[in-house]
């Protein structure tokens, strides 16, 4: 037969499809090939390549940007699992560079310093899929409207404090239940309140779920945190500083992977939580000078 002329890359289905394949897994922040190897050995489904984990970005201050391509390449050569990388909010030139590097997912991330105060990246023209953070349903649907193929809670990155991620997941779920229960005539006003595209609001009202996978990020520091957010409806977890800022990263990584798979079985979560050593130190979000979750809109 002749070469298939209907073949297409970069469709919404293949971009959202990779997010589907990551479900039930753990995506780990890594800053060098050695950490990437530890993550893959521990059963991570993907790694996020970045120069500093969020807790260090928070400590160091200054402008946080896309990582050096050399460092991303070294990590791509080290592991066989998908490699993600972060671009600044609105910085489509960084995203173009990351796509040319063949990264598997781009995180348009509030952990980096935003490049545009008004606009997020128009994600539709890209072949590579994007994940974006959201604190509520309106924000999630605005990002999906711009072409995001995966939504994650923002949490409060770099704190080791799960409270913000829990708030975001509960808010998104509560707002989806509200849409599901609404009278059809109410959906127009609800779309206005959410500041979300009407077609996406109608879709959520019908299905009761986001059109793309919902993952959790921000503040996960223990296996119990992973179990908590999975039970709250997250479909996979991102762990940033929580692994490589803990006392024993190798064991912590394996334990969080186990807890994410077996989140419904407290006896397994108890077993992997035993004798883990200290989790990352963490910070109380009320005392923070810079709230990363407030970046993006």
């Amino acid at each position: 037969m002749s070469v298939n002329e209907n073949s297409t890359v970069g469709t919404a289905r293949v971009k959202r499809g990779l997010a589907d394949m990551l479900r039930g897994g753990v995506i780990m922040d890594v800053v060098n090939p050695e950490q990437a190897k530890i993550a893959e050995d521990a059963g991570a489904v993907a790694v996020m390549a970045l120069e500093r984990v969020p807790s260090d970005i928070r400590r160091d201050g200054g402008v946080a940007r896309m990582s050096d391509p050399q460092m991303i390449r070294e990590i791509q050569e080290t592991v066989t699992i998908p490699v993600m990388a972060k671009a600044r909010i609105g910085h489509f030139a960084e995203a173009q560079i990351l796509q040319s590097l063949d990264v598997d997912y781009i995180d348009e991330s509030e952990v980096l310093t935003p490049a545009d105060e008004t606009n997020h990246i128009d994600k539709w023209p890209f072949t590579v899929p994007f994940v974006c953070g959201a604190t509520n349903l309106g924000e999630a649907l605005r990002r999906i409207g711009e072409g995001a193929c995966m939504i994650r809670s923002k949490g409060e990155a770099g704190t080791g404090n799960i409270v913000e991620a829990v708030r975001h997941l509960r808010t998104i779920n509560e707002q989806m239940r509200r849409l599901r229960a609404a009278d059809e005539a109410e959906l127009y006003a609800l779309a206005k309140d959410l500041q979300a595209p009407l077609p996406l609001v109608l879709e959520v009202a019908q299905t009761g779920a986001l059109p793309v996978p919902l993952f959790c990020a921000g503040g996960i520091a223990t296996p119990a945190d992973a179990s908590l957010v999975m039970q709250l409806g997250a479909e996979a977890v991102f762990v940033g500083s929580g692994i490589f800022k803990s006392e024993d990263p190798n064991r912590m990584a394996r334990a969080i992977v186990e807890a994410t798979t077996h989140f419904r079985d407290p006896s397994i979560v108890a077993k992997v939580s035993t004798g883990l050593g200290a989790a990352m130190r963490g910070a109380e979000t009320a005392s923070l000078e810079q709230r990363l979750a407030e970046r993006g809109w």
């Binding site: 070469v3 521990a42 059963g43 598997d104 899929p129 798979t261």
Partner: protein, 195 residues
Amino acid sequence: MPAIGVLALQGDVREHRATLEGLGARVVEVRSPRDLDVIAGLVIPGGESTAILHLLVTSGVRAPLQERLNDGMPVLGTCAGMIVMARHVRDGRSDQWSFGSLDVTVRRNGYGRQVASFEADVALSSGGSIPGVFIRAPRIEEWGSGVEVLGTCNRGDGDAPVWVRDGSVWACSFHPELTADQTVHRTFLAAHGLL
């Protein structure tokens, strides 16, 4: 009716479950060795093969599942599930292992990284075609004489097998669970009296 298992350690378990239940099958999610006792067949979903292989070991499912496979339990693997079943795996980790029940040699990410992921029709050996969604898909590079090619796809270098059967082991490079087409699941279930 006998139950069909879906290996639920990681990956797109929900889509397989929905497709199987849409065909009227009774589904059990498999996360522990005891779950294997109640199933008459197994689907290994798409996901990350390194993570699934790791979790097969830590969950204790690997050894009892190998026994069931040796006894001829029917299995359908999609994408990562094909890698898990293959006899030989190229571009894997240095410690890559697999059950080896499917006599093929596959190359991980053989069609490229995510930016090369694609949709294309799969030509059926029985005639007609079904939609194929290929995501960082494994490529079948060699296959034994006992392997039946059920579907092919042409990426510019000839018709290559993307849906195969080796006795009771079935596998595809693509994700039939991500489309509405039930052909792959129905054919598998019907061939083994699981419907």
